[in-house]
C-alpha cells in the first residue's frame, strides 16, 4: 500500500513540475485555451457545412449530426495523439538518464511524464464537448458515459503500446520515427477523424484504404466512441470492442517488451545519453 501511495505521489511530482513549467509561459497558456474553443468551433462549423454530404454515412452512427461527428473525431484525435506521442518524451536522453539515476520505477516515470499531457487533453475534451453541446446541437443526454470512458481508456492503452514501440525505436536509432509517422499520417486519412471510413470507398474502389482503416486501433475508438454518444453500450458493440481490446493487449505487451529490450541495448552500448 505504501508503495502505491509513494508511486502516486511521484506521479503527482511530475504533474506539479509540468504545471509550474507550463504556467511560466502565461501568454502561451491563455492562447492555448483560446485555441481549444476556436478549433472546436471550426470543427462544428465544418460539420454543419458538410452535413448534406455526410448524411448518408451517419446512419451507422444513429443519425448523429455531422457537426457532432467531426467534433468527436477531432477531440479524440488529439487525445489519442497525446497517448501516442507522449512516450517520446520519456526517450528524451537527458530526461531518461537523469530519472534512471533516481529510485523512480520506469512505469511511474512513464505515467508521470504523461500526466500533464492527459490533464491538458482532458481539458481539451471538455471544451470540445461544451462547444458541441452549446452551439452545434450535440445531445449529451443520450451519451453512455461509461461506455465512452471505457473505450477511451482501452484506446489509450493501445496508443501507449504503439507510442512505446515508437519511442523505443527512436531510443536506439536516434533519428526519424517511422511508427509514429505512419500512424499519425494514415490514421488522419483513413480512421474516421473527419469522415466515416465507408466514405473512402467512393474514392478508392479497390477498398484498400478501407481495409487499412480497420487495421488501426484509432478507427475502432472513433467508431465506438461515436456510438456511445448515441447511447450504445459496450454489449451492443462486442466484436469491435474485442478487436480493440486484443489490439491494446498485443500492442502494449509488444511495446513494453521492445522498450525494455531497447533500453538494455542502450545501457549495454552506452548510448543512453546520446541525441
Amino acid at each position: 500500500m505504501t508503495q502505491i501511495f509513494s508511486s502516486i505521489y511521484k506521479i503527482y511530482s511530475f504533474f506539479r513540475r509540468d504545471v509550474v513549467n507550463v504556467s511560466s509561459y502565461k501568454l502561451n497558456f491563455i492562447f492555448s485555451i483560446l485555441s481549444m474553443f476556436i478549433f472546436s468551433f471550426t470543427m462544428g462549423t465544418l460539420g454543419a457545412i458538410t452535413q448534406p454530404a455526410q448524411a448518408q454515412y451517419m446512419q451507422a452512427y444513429g443519425n448523429m449530426n455531422a457537426a457532432t461527428f467531426l467534433i468527436i473525431g477531432f477531440m479524440l484525435n488529439q487525445f489519442l495523439g497525446q497517448s501516442q506521442f507522449a512516450p517520446q518524451g520519456i526517450a528524451n536522453p537527458g530526461n531518461l538518464e537523469r530519472i534512471l539515476l533516481t529510485p523512480c520505477s520506469i512505469p511511474v516515470f512513464i505515467l508521470g511524464t504523461m500526466s500533464w499531457g492527459y490533464f491538458w487533453s482532458s481539458l481539451n475534451l471538455v471544451v470540445f464537448i461544451f462547444v458541441g453541446a452549446m452551439v452545434f446541437g450535440m445531445n449529451l443526454f443520450t451519451v453512455d458515459w461509461l461506455t465512452f470512458i471505457t473505450i477511451l481508456l482501452i484506446g489509450v492503452i493501445a496508443m501507449w503500446g504503439l507510442g512505446i514501440i515508437s519511442a523505443a525505436i527512436q531510443m536506439v536509432t536516434k533519428q526519424w520515427n517511422p511508427v509514429n509517422w505512419f500512424l499519425s499520417t494514415f490514421s488522419f486519412l483513413v480512421s474516421g477523424v473527419f469522415f466515416s471510413p465507408e466514405a473512402l470507398l467512393t474514392v478508392d474502389a479497390t477498398g484498400l484504404l478501407y481495409r487499412l482503416a480497420w487495421c488501426l486501433p484509432h478507427t475502432y475508438v472513433y467508431y465506438m466512441a461515436r456510438l456511445a454518444f448515441v447511447g450504445k453500450s459496450l454489449m451492443d458493440m462486442l466484436f469491435p470492442l474485442l478487436t480493440l481490446v486484443t489490439m491494446a493487449a498485443v500492442f502494449f505487451a509488444i511495446g513494453w517488451f521492445i522498450f525494455k529490450l531497447c533500453l538494455r541495448r542502450c545501457q549495454l552500448e552506452g548510448s543512453l545519453g546520446w541525441v
Binding site: S6, Y12, S13, V20, S24, L100, L101, Q267, L272
Partner: protein, 324 residues
C-alpha cells in the same frame, strides 16, 4: 524513372542507411577495486581512459557485458533500485533540469523522486543549497544560473537524499578556483570526515586528487594501472626521478651530450629567465648527477643550480600511462 525521382530515391536510401558506424570499444576492462566506508577515492586518467564509463556503470546507467560490482553492498545487476537509493551522482554534463523552474522547485521535484520524507524535504533543500552556496539563488530560474552555479546545483541534487555513497564525475569542472577549493574542503571535511560518506571522485586535476584523496587509482585504456595512496602511486615511478638544472649557454650540443649519458631518460628544456635555461632531466638513477654537472662544464655551459625533484601525481600519471 526521371532524374528527380532518382534523386529522391537516393535521398531516401541515404536516410535509411545506417548513418553511424558503431565501432565496438571495450571502455572498461577487468577493473577490480574496493573503496572503504568514509574513504575519498580518486579515479584519475587521461581522456577516454574509461572513468565516466565506470561511474555510469556503478550508478546503473550502463550495463556491463561481463562481471558486476557492488555499491553499498548491493549488486548493480541484481539490485539496481537499491543501488540508486544508496547513491548521489554528479555526471560530467548538466542533465534533467527544467530551466523555467527555480532551483528550489527543481530540487523539490528530485527530492520527491528520491523519496525524501515529506517532512524533511524543505530542510534537505535548504541544507544542500547552503552547502553548495546557492541559497541566494534558490528562487531564481535554473536557466539563469551560470555554468559554475549549475554545476553546484548538480551537486546539491546528488546530496538531496543524503546518500551514503557519492559518485562525482569531474564535480569541480566549470567551478571557479575558489568555489572548487571550497567544494573540495566541504567534501573532504564535512561529507567524508564528519558524515562518513564514501566518495568516488573522478578528475583530470592531479593537484586536486593529491590534495584531498585518501587513495587514487589511475585508469588507462579501460584498465586500472596503479592504485594506492597518492604517495604510493608516486613511489611507483620514483625509480625515475627528475633533476632540475638551471644553466647558462645551454647549447644544443650541451643538451645532446647530457642526453647521451647512461641513465638519462629524457630532457625537457625551458627558458627560465633571460639567459638561463632550465633543464628537467629525467633519470633512472640520481647518482649520475655529478656526471651531469661535469658534462655541463666540459661542453662549455655554466651551471647555476641543480636539485632533485620529487615526481608529482601528474607526472606519475603521465609516466604510468605513457602519455606525452
Amino acid at each position: 524513372m526521371s532524374e528527380e525521382n532518382l534523386g529522391l530515391l537516393k535521398f531516401i536510401r541515404r536516410l535509411l542507411r545506417k548513418t553511424k558506424t558503431k565501432e565496438k570499444i571495450l571502455a572498461v576492462n577487468s577493473v577490480s577495486f574496493s573503496i572503504e566506508k568514509g574513504e575519498l577515492f580518486g579515479l584519475l586518467g587521461p581522456n577516454g581512459a574509461g572513468k565516466t564509463t565506470l561511474v555510469k556503470t556503478l550508478c546503473t546507467l550502463l550495463w556491463p557485458n561481463a562481471g558486476t560490482a557492488k555499491v553499498n553492498g548491493y549488486d548493480i545487476k541484481n539490485e539496481p533500485n537499491k543501488v540508486r537509493a544508496s547513491i548521489g551522482t554528479v555526471l560530467d554534463v548538466h542533465m534533467g533540469w527544467y530551466g523555467r523552474l527555480s532551483c528550489r522547485q527543481n530540487l523539490l521535484f528530485y527530492a520527491q523522486l528520491y523519496g525524501v520524507p515529506l517532512s524533511n524535504i524543505a530542510k534537505r533543500i535548504r541544507e544542500t543549497l547552503e552547502l553548495v552556496e546557492l541559497t541566494e539563488k534558490a528562487d531564481e530560474w535554473q536557466q539563469k544560473l551560470s555554468s559554475g552555479m549549475q554545476r553546484k546545483l548538480d551537486v546539491a541534487r546528488a546530496l538531496l537524499p543524503d546518500p551514503p555513497v557519492l559518485l562525482l564525475d569531474e564535480p569541480t569542472l566549470q567551478l571557479d578556483p575558489k568555489s572548487a577549493r571550497d567544494f573540495r574542503r566541504t567534501v573532504k571535511d564535512e561529507l567524508c570526515g564528519k558524515q562518513g560518506k564514501t566518495v568516488l571522485w573522478t578528475t583530470h586535476n592531479m593537484n586536486e586528487a593529491e590534495e584531498i584523496c585518501d587513495r587514487v587509482a589511475i585508469m588507462h585504456k579501460g584498465k586500472i594501472i596503479a592504485i594506492g595512496s597518492p604517495s604510493e602511486v608516486k613511489d611507483l615511478v620514483k625509480s625515475r626521478e627528475n633533476i632540475v638544472a638551471d644553466l647558462e649557454k645551454a647549447t644544443p650540443e650541451l643538451i645532446a651530450s647530457i642526453k647521451e649519458l647512461e641513465g638519462v631518460v629524457s630532457i625537457v628544456s625551458t627558458q627560465h629567465s633571460p639567459g638561463i635555461t632550465q633543464l628537467k632531466i629525467e633519470v633512472n638513477d640520481t647518482r649520475i648527477s655529478p656526471l651531469i654537472a661535469e658534462t655541463v662544464v666540459r661542453v662549455g655551459g655554466s651551471l647555476h643550480s641543480m636539485k632533485l625533484e620529487e615526481p608529482t601525481l601528474e607526472e606519475a600519471l603521465i609516466r604510468l600511462t605513457g602519455e606525452k
